[in-house]
């Protein structure tokens, strides 16, 4: 115990984050095994994991790199459809967990490549312009996928942009992606354990990056670009690094998401989904990884918990969102938590600054 207290503040904070996730995983596992968990909650476990990864990875771009990205769902979409194609092609040739892993890795790689392609021109832009470009990217991805027909049949793997018939799959072929009808017949490979592993990998990457030399360079670029350039930090390189890692993780999350449902359509990953994830990040606090995790979990579960209120459900959800915004920026409440923290007398002098949203 003493050892933990002696550790650097950042390390201790990170350990708490890991511990929180592991504890939550064990509790849910235990409850699930003893049958004390509703099917409504069980069905949400994988989506919760996915949204946590999405929120943490977007936090890398928005909070740590300080660039507003409105197209995060676009990367998720790429990962989702790549993952689905991989999973269906590999059907029967490898075991299920391996198939899921391959699908997630491929989804991550493709999304990462897209991140590079978008990032190189887009990251030359700053502020609002980058937001607009990423927004456009998300919409472009959505529209391209809506016109894509992909299948596997006698002639092997085929892609078309006309219609499903033009794929010439033969009688025993399967259409994997059917234009606006999306992908259907997806094997349900995603499990809570795989979601947990993905969160841990994400945390490992993001938290270590944040505390590394590169991470400090990224934050230096965020805080003052000119000053960072003057000490020899390559702005483009570090911006790209953060952006691509963020896109890659989103791709993996997308693959996991798609493999949890038997169908996925491109329009799911529209502007609204990007904004939803941005809301998680903003409410959790920009740059605050633990905050993102909590916000993503609570805001994913909340609409389902509010089902008891029937028609008032979405109204209540909105009211609660506004309340959270007000509460987290309320001076009196902040003072109260300060006093509360002082009561326990743990020496954390710089804590009062951390965890609040950047304006």
């Amino acid at each position: 115990m003493k050892k933990i207290l002696k550790l650097k503040k950042d390390t201790r904070k990170n350990l708490i984050t890991y511990g929180m996730i592991i504890l939550a995983f064990l509790i849910v596992r235990f409850l699930s095994a003893s049958g004390n968990i509703s099917s409504a909650f069980r069905g949400q476990l994988v989506p919760i994991c996915v949204y946590i990864v999405m929120a943490v990875s977007l936090n890398l771009t928005v909070g740590i790199l300080g660039e507003l990205s409105l197209g995060h769902a676009g990367f998720m979409s790429l990962g989702a459809f790549t993952g689905v194609i991989a999973a269906i092609i590999l059907q029967g040739s490898v075991s299920n967990p391996l198939r899921l892993a391959i699908a997630m890795v491929l989804g991550a790689v493709i999304a990462g490549i897209a991140g590079l392609v978008v990032g190189v021109p887009a990251l030359r832009l700053r502020g609002d312009y980058l937001a607009i470009v990423t927004l456009a990217f998300g919409e472009i991805i959505k529209n391209i996928i809506n016109t894509l027909y992909v299948g596997i049949g006698e002639n092997g793997f085929r892609i078309s942009m006309v219609n499903a018939e033009s794929l010439n799959l033969g009688e025993r072929g399967t259409v994997i992606m059917n234009g606006p009808m999306g992908a259907v017949g997806i094997p349900k490979l995603a499990t809570f354990a795989s979601g947990f592993i993905l969160i841990m990998v994400t945390l490992f990457i993001v938290l270590n990056l944040q505390n590394s030399r590169s991470g400090r360079a990224i934050m230096a670029v965020r805080d003052n670009r000119i000053a960072a350039e003057s000490v020899g930090i390559s702005v483009t390189r570090y911006k790209l690094m953060a952006f691509i890692i963020s896109a890659t993780l989103a791709g993996a999350a997308g693959a996991l998401y798609a493999l949890n449902f038997s169908t996925v359509v491109a329009r799911k990953f529209d502007f609204n989904t990007s904004i939803l994830i941005l809301v998680f990040v903003v409410l959790g606090g920009m740059g605050n990884i633990r905050g993102s995790i909590i916000a993503a979990t609570v805001l994913t579960v909340l609409p389902e918990l509010l089902r008891a209120f029937n028609n008032y459900r979405m109204l209540l959800y909105a009211v609660i969102l506004i309340l959270v915004m007000l509460v987290s920026n309320n001076e009196q409440l902040k003072n109260m938590t300060k006093k509360f923290k002082g009561f326990f007398k743990i020496k954390r002098p710089s804590d009062l600054k951390g965890g609040t949203a950047r304006e």
């Binding site: 099917s39 606006p180 009808m181 329009r267 309340l323």
Partner: protein, 384 residues
């Protein structure tokens, strides 16, 4: 200080709503069969979900008033989203759902039917029309036509009644429903007595201006425009065609239903529009008249085809349950096996609002006759 006050007001609002929401929950009946419903009650597709939910509620009330077999309905919102739909499904499972009436829309329907297939819960969907919803799942049945069937029926109808020789098609190529109908229509049109002279598309994001599509149809001399789309974009097409003085015949499918009750739409423009729909609220048969009257009294609007589908679903489940001798204390899996047997048996048929003698094949698709309607003086009239 002011912020503080707003915060207090908001908190009060939440609390009072929480109290309000406690009211209005239905009474529990231990012997009633628990029917779950899933559909969009909020969001862009809310019209469809609300119609189905209202009509299903009406049907359940009627059935319960008859005595005998009792139903209990719980309808959950899915916002027309697969993820939310599976959540709604799981919530209903926790509630103890024995039969599922849903989902209303297609994409959520594919996700939910896969779950219902694994859990062995009997499912009859009112309006999820893609064949993928029922494909390969023995306990999932449809009450509506499948999208390809609508495309085929439309092509046949246009050819048989010689409604036009040069056809233009405007469809939504970002929508599963619209694309599904168009693809079959196009392949069916090959050996018919008309030609498709113009095919133009739009997406949900560009569904505000149709001048390009309409100009192309006019330049191609199309005398009939086929619109396998929902009524909101269709209403814009009609308005814009009128503004540019282009007056072809318009032919829609069941998504066109609802155009007459749309707010801020001049229904004069819909005069002469033809549509293929299984239900017309102005039909003079006893059943439809009684249903329309009750629905209007209760919910203050004329029911559309989705409402009729929802009503028929509950009655189809009721007829089948009676025949199979189902009781409220049976497990969902037992009910499922019994209902499958009844639905696929050759002597089971349902006379509903959306068709006489509806029967089901083992694939889960319904067989019934489509009805051609034309809008005259602001109401649907059966096409001869």
């Amino acid at each position: 200080m002011k912020k503080h006050r707003i915060f207090c007001i908001a908190l009060t609002l939440v609390m009072s709503l929480a109290v309000l929401a406690g009211c209005g929950t239905s009474t529990q009946q231990s012997t009633a069969i628990k029917i779950g419903g899933i559909g969009p009650l909020t969001g862009g597709a809310a019209t469809y979900g609300t119609s189905v939910a209202n009509a299903a509620k009406l049907a359940v009330e009627e059935i319960n008033a008859l005595g005998g077999l009792q139903f209990e309905l719980n309808f959950q919102d899915d916002e027309h989203d697969a993820e939310k739909s599976v959540n709604a499904y799981n919530t209903l499972k926790d509630w103890g759902m024995q039969v599922l009436c849903g989902t209303v829309t297609t994409t959520p329907g594919i996700a939910v039917s896969a779950e219902a297939y694994n859990d062995r819960i009997f499912t009859l969907t009112p309006s999820a029309s893609s064949p993928k919803v029922v494909e390969g799942k023995d306990n999932i049945f449809q009450l509506c036509f499948t999208d390809p069937n609508q495309g085929i029926a439309s092509a046949q109808y246009i050819a048989d009644a010689v409604l036009g020789t040069k056809i233009a098609v405007i469809y939504n190529n970002a929508d599963a429903y619209s694309t599904g109908i168009y693809e079959k229509f196009a392949s069916e049109a090959n050996d018919k007595n008309f030609a498709i002279v113009s095919v133009t598309t739009f997406t949900d994001d560009t569904a505000t201006d149709f001048s390009v599509q309409l100009s192309e149809a006019r330049n191609a001399d199309a005398d009939l425009v086929f619109l396998p789309i929902y009524y909101q974009p269709a209403s814009l097409i009609l308005t814009q065609a009128d503004a540019m003085g282009y007056t072809p015949k318009f032919f829609g499918v069941d998504g066109m239903d609802g155009i007459l009750t749309m707010e801020n739409f001049n229904t004069d423009l819909a005069e002469g529009v033809m549509l293929l729909t299984p239900f017309a609220p102005d039909a003079s048969d006893e059943k439809t008249v009684a249903f329309v009257q009750k629905y209007q009294e209760r919910f203050g609007e004329i029911p559309n085809q989705f409402a009729a589908d929802g009503y028929d679903v509950v009655y189809a489940i009721y007829e089948a349950s009676k025949k199979a001798g189902i009781k409220g204390d049976m497990s969902a899996a037992d009910i499922c096996e019994k209902l499958i047997k009844v639905f696929t048996s050759s002597d089971f048929s349902v006379d509903g609002l959306t068709g006489e003698n509806m029967t089901w094949s083992t694939s889960g698709e319904v067989s019934k006759a489509p009805k051609g309607m034309v809008i005259e003086n602001g109401v649907y009239v059966g096409m001869q």
